[in-house]
């Protein structure tokens, strides 16, 4: 073990880390008395071999097989795969096909954000947990009026904490209910969730009529009030912790490195080509971005793609050498990408003993420009806010340092909320940003609804949902540049002779939950855990601040390893 106990340090295993998606475990060295985490390793403990299973298959299987890599982000892989196939086949969906897919991803987010905020991270701030780990904070919460009462209805911070209690809390069960409302909207176009049955290369296999759009709209509209409420709840909780003890800003501290490819295509810009990817991706409702230490390095999806590499020095895989770099007979011709780029990668599993000094995770270490990067629903906010490039501004207004969101009236009056880029990035700020991301997605859903209704009413070819395609016989290499509900998502496919030669998936948690890379740099979540102070005044053995840190990354291990 590398985590040799120093004075006061003891080994704590979190196997499994619960209330995350997929199989995640953390191995840590913690100085309980000193309140410090000295070392941490993130172990992805599941490998299923999707990339290997996809090799040698008919490309038409790719969407429905690759979707099944993750059932939590149960729709986004289908679209990432469709984008890759559209690039490979040279097919462009009609506007309604694109808008329909936008709607599906947006309402999928309306299921996913509440589930994350209230069934996964929420209980960490609930009455039973706060009373157990920081009884003085509970006492304070009982005395602290909630500033957002007019919006969310809770008089005291303590009332919010009670409502966040697992299963019995009102906010917990309400989130389950709202996640079901969002899924009802999803299955109108997707047929089912997870694993929608209607996403095809060239668009959708769904018939969209006025009933579908109205049924969906009434459900989306419920999220105008709900997202106001969720934002008010999390603003109150986050501000309460910071005011009670400023050291909570250090919990889960991160560097503000972000990567995202953007999400929701402009129906009149997306053409499926790699050549035009920089321009169509820039017209997305959320802007692509690679941000290092809080500064945008690029908003160009192609440059973001080029900088991605995967390392396996600490992962249960054999190194694949130079792979397909330089074009080694796959028919797709030479490429100038790094040998570590997913398009050049081969998946060669090597199961073995977990040893932090050697190999310990089934996740690769995904890096951009050799930097560990965070991604997530909050990366969408960061990249969109700073870049200030979004062309669709009916409800969304980036300012360079914040994102203003105009929420239409429901039972609550219309309002404008503003997410500001925080000075210090950490666990609580991740959660707060997730709440704003819910409002963001509701507004994107709304605007795409309006476009879809307009296309439907005007009729003609633009109202079609799919474009005919043929599977090409020659060699093709293509990439689906997309965003999961949890951020960056890319699918990389190489075809030849109408058969998949290589299929690679990089999911959000391949970045967030990555192990050390070949140069020994910890993954973003590992680094955040290592810096985290343990602020519990009671039952510190529970290491609640470690768990708060890990969960704030919204891990999805089934996306991370496939």
């Amino acid at each position: 073990m590398s985590a040799v106990p120093t004075t006061g340090a003891r080994r704590v295993d979190f196997n499994p880390v619960t209330r995350v998606a997929g199989a995640l475990s953390f191995q840590t060295a913690v100085d309980i008395e000193g309140g410090q985490v000295l070392d941490a390793h993130a172990l992805a403990t599941l490998f299923r071999g999707y990339e290997v299973i996809l090799e040698g298959r008919d490309p038409r299987d790719a969407i429905f097989v690759s979707s099944r890599a993750c059932g939590v982000c149960g729709g986004v892989h289908s679209t990432a795969s469709a984008l890759a196939l559209e690039m490979a086949f040279g097919v462009q969906p009609p506007p309604m096909g694109i808008v329909g897919r936008n709607l599906m991803v947006a309402v999928e987010d309306l299921y996913d954000r509440p589930t994350h905020l209230f069934t996964r991270v929420g209980p960490d701030y609930s009455e039973p947990v706060v009373r157990e780990t920081n009884p003085e904070l509970w006492e304070r919460a009982l005395q602290t009026p909630a500033p957002g009462r007019a919006t969310h209805g809770f008089a005291l911070i303590a009332d919010i904490m009670t409502a966040m209690t697992r299963f019995s809390g009102k906010l917990y069960t309400e989130a389950l209910g709202m996640s079901r409302r969002a899924r009802e909207a999803y299955v109108l176009l997707g047929g089912k969730y997870p694993h929608p049955q209607t996403i095809v290369p060239g668009g959708l296999s769904a018939h969209i009529n006025a009933s579908d759009l109205q049924l969906m709209f009434f459900r989306v509209a419920e999220f105008f009030d709900y997202s106001q409420k969720v934002v008010a709840v999390w603003d109150d909780i986050v501000d309460f912790f910071f005011e009670a003890d400023p050291r909570f800003r250090e919990v889960g501290r991160g560097r503000a490195n972000f990567i995202d490819l953007g999400l929701w295509d402009d129906p009149f810009a997306y053409d499926g080509t790699f050549e035009a990817a920089s321009s169509w991706a820039e017209r997305r409702w959320s802007t692509p971005g690679a941000i290092v230490d809080g500064r945008v390095r690029t908003s160009d999806a192609r440059r973001i793609n080029t900088g991605v590499e995967e390392f396996v020095g600490h992962s249960f895989y054999e190194d694949w050498g130079s792979g397909r770099a330089g074009g080694s007979g796959n028919g797709a011709g030479p490429n100038r990408l790094s040998a570590r780029h997913p398009s050049n990668k081969e998946t060669i599993p090597q199961p073995g003993e977990a040893d932090p000094s050697r190999k310990y995770s089934w996740s690769t270490a995904a890096r951009w420009d050799r930097e560990p990067m965070e991604t997530g629903a909050y990366a969408r906010l960061w990249a969109t806010a700073i870049a200030d490039k979004v062309p669709h501004r009916s409800f969304i207004e980036p300012t360079g340092h914040s994102l203003r969101l105009a929420i239409p009236q429901g039972a609550l009056p219309a309002t404008e909320i503003e997410w500001r880029i925080p000075e210090r990035w950490g666990a609580l700020e991740r959660n707060r940003a997730q709440a704003y991301a819910l409002a963001f997605s509701a507004l994107v859903a709304y605007e795409n609804q309006v476009i879809a209704l307009d296309l439907l009413r005007r009729g003609g070819p633009d109202a079609g949902v799919s474009t005919h395609y043929k599977v090409p016989k020659d060699g093709r290499q293509a990439t689906g540049l997309w965003g999961g509900n949890r951020g960056y998502l890319s699918h990389h496919v190489t075809l030849d002779g109408q058969v998949i030669q290589s299929y690679q998936i990089v999911g959000p948690s391949t970045f967030n939950m990555s192990p050390r890379d070949d140069s020994g740099k910890p993954g973003p979540c590992e680094a955040a855990v290592i810096g985290t102070p343990l602020l519990s005044t009671a039952n510190r053995e529970r290491c609640i601040d470690v768990l708060r840190t890990i969960r704030s990354f919204d891990p999805c291990m089934t996306c991370a390893t496939h």
């Binding site: 071999g49 038409r60 099944r68 047929g191 003993e353 799919s466």
Partner: protein, 432 residues
């Protein structure tokens, strides 16, 4: 919790408590080669919902103590401890094992390691073989064989855990299999039940929670063993092909087929396997009675079936059998469709409109007078329809036209506005 904590399984067989359950049952959720999609589906269920079962809100069900990694309170050893107790037989309460995801063949790994892990070596019961180094991750597959014999029932949720699914598809390198294959043909639970299978990728959440509820009522002794089919599926959910209840089956009957994704007709020719796939998603819906693959326009790819995905690949390519059955359907369905259109010509017309020889709609240019051929057709049709009964066609002919018909004209009120908002949208009756 208001419930008494004492285990009551096995007591009071035959509904002695009037269908009321006061027991407590633990449910251990084990995720093998899973995408967590079955867990997500289960959280989408409403009849019953997970929270209602966990909170013990349903009178006819025991309270469920759920051990699920995605929903748990504790992490690490505190979370795994009850698994250990159940495997050792010291839990003190009955339990059901639910497996999501297929089971990898990692027992065969020569070196250390696992494809799916849960807990660390120090969590493993000392009374059982297969101990591992205290700090090494344990294999999920070890927990499954350790928990299966003592479980009141073992349930496989989803196509991976039931039949193998995608992790067991051609080219896999993990040796994955379904729960029945792993436990063997002779497996019976502590209460004598073979593996129960609720397939689907992902399954309809309500299929699972409903089957679990039925099973719990049986285990509680307040209901008979549910009707499972020869593969352990809830028979009432899976005995029909999805095509039989498909909203597009009527198109098939009339021999009209979709040519491209997005068309509204029967999807068989663009790759739908529905006529030979056992599933109930089109009648039950995917969530809260909404959605369903073909309801939305998606072709069935057989995701509830053994052999998925390979036996249904390539997706969105017409199944070979459809050339024969679809061809036949086009011939006889085409005839049926024409006959129906003929009948429909006299439909969409009130008897009063026939008498007045006028259709009072501003939306279409409907002919007031009917074609003589249509009239003759309708005459003989009605003759057959009303034979042996009352002839309403004849009675309606004698019905006088109401005096206040077309009231605005009669009163001399100006009511025709010359603003044309319809334009080309005015259709002739024949198109309707």
């Amino acid at each position: 919790m208001a419930r008494e904590a004492a285990p009551r399984l096995g007591s009071g067989i035959g509904g002695a408590r009037g269908g009321q359950s006061t027991g407590v049952v633990h449910v251990f959720w084990l995720a093998g080669m899973s995408c967590d999609g079955c867990s997500v589906s289960t959280l989408g269920a409403i009849t019953p919902s997970v929270e209602d079962m966990v909170l013990g809100r349903i009178p006819a069900l025991p309270q469920v103590v759920l051990h699920h990694p995605m929903l748990a309170d504790d992490s690490g050893q505190d979370f795994v401890e009850p698994y250990r107790q159940a495997a050792e037989g010291t839990l003190g309460a009955p339990y059901v094992m639910v497996v999501e995801g297929s089971i990898p063949d990692d027992q065969s790994l020569e070196r250390a390691g696992q494809f799916a892990g849960l807990g660390v070596g120090s969590d493993w019961p000392r009374s059982l073989p297969s101990a591992r180094a205290s700090e090494q991750p344990l294999r999920t597959s070890d927990w499954i064989w350790a928990l299966a014999p003592g479980a009141a029932a073992s349930v496989a949720i989803g196509t991976c855990a039931t039949w193998g699914g995608i992790p067991a598809a051609a080219g896999n390198i993990t040796g994955s299999m379904g729960l029945m294959d792993y436990l063997g043909v002779d497996y019976r639970s502590a209460r004598g039940v073979p593996v129960v299978n609720v397939p689907g990728c992902a399954p309809v959440g309500d299929n699972f929670t409903e089957a679990l509820a039925e099973l719990l009522q049986y285990l509680e002794g307040i209901a008979p063993l549910p009707d499972f089919d020869e593969l352990g599926r809830p028979a009432w959910q899976f005995e029909q092909t999805v095509h039989r209840h498909c909203p597009k089956a009527g198109y098939y009957e009339e021999g009209v087929f979709a040519e491209e994704p997005g068309d509204t007709e029967c999807l068989v020719e663009i790759g739908c396997w529905g006529p030979v796939v056992q599933c109930n998603i089109v009648e039950r819906g995917a969530v809260n009675h909404m959605g369903g693959c073909m309801v939305a326009g998606g072709a069935c790819i057989g995701c509830t079936m053994p052999g998925f995905p390979d036996k249904y690949s390539p997706f969105y390519k017409a199944p070979p059998g459809s050339a024969i059955s679809g061809g036949i359907s086009k011939v006889y369905g085409g005839g049926i469709r024409r006959l129906r259109r003929m009948s429909m010509k006299s439909g969409n017309r009130e008897p009063m409109w026939d008498n007045a020889e006028n259709v009072p709609t501003g939306w279409g240019r409907a002919k007031g007078k009917r074609d003589p051929v249509d009239k003759v057709n309708a005459y003989f049709y009605k003759k057959l329809q009303y034979r042996g009964s009352v002839n309403h066609a004849a009675r309606n002919k004698k019905q006088p036209l109401p005096q206040s018909r077309d009231i605005l004209t009669q009163k001399g009120v100006d009511h025709t506005r010359h603003v044309d908002v319809l334009g080309e949208r005015i259709r002739s009756r024949e198109e309707i």
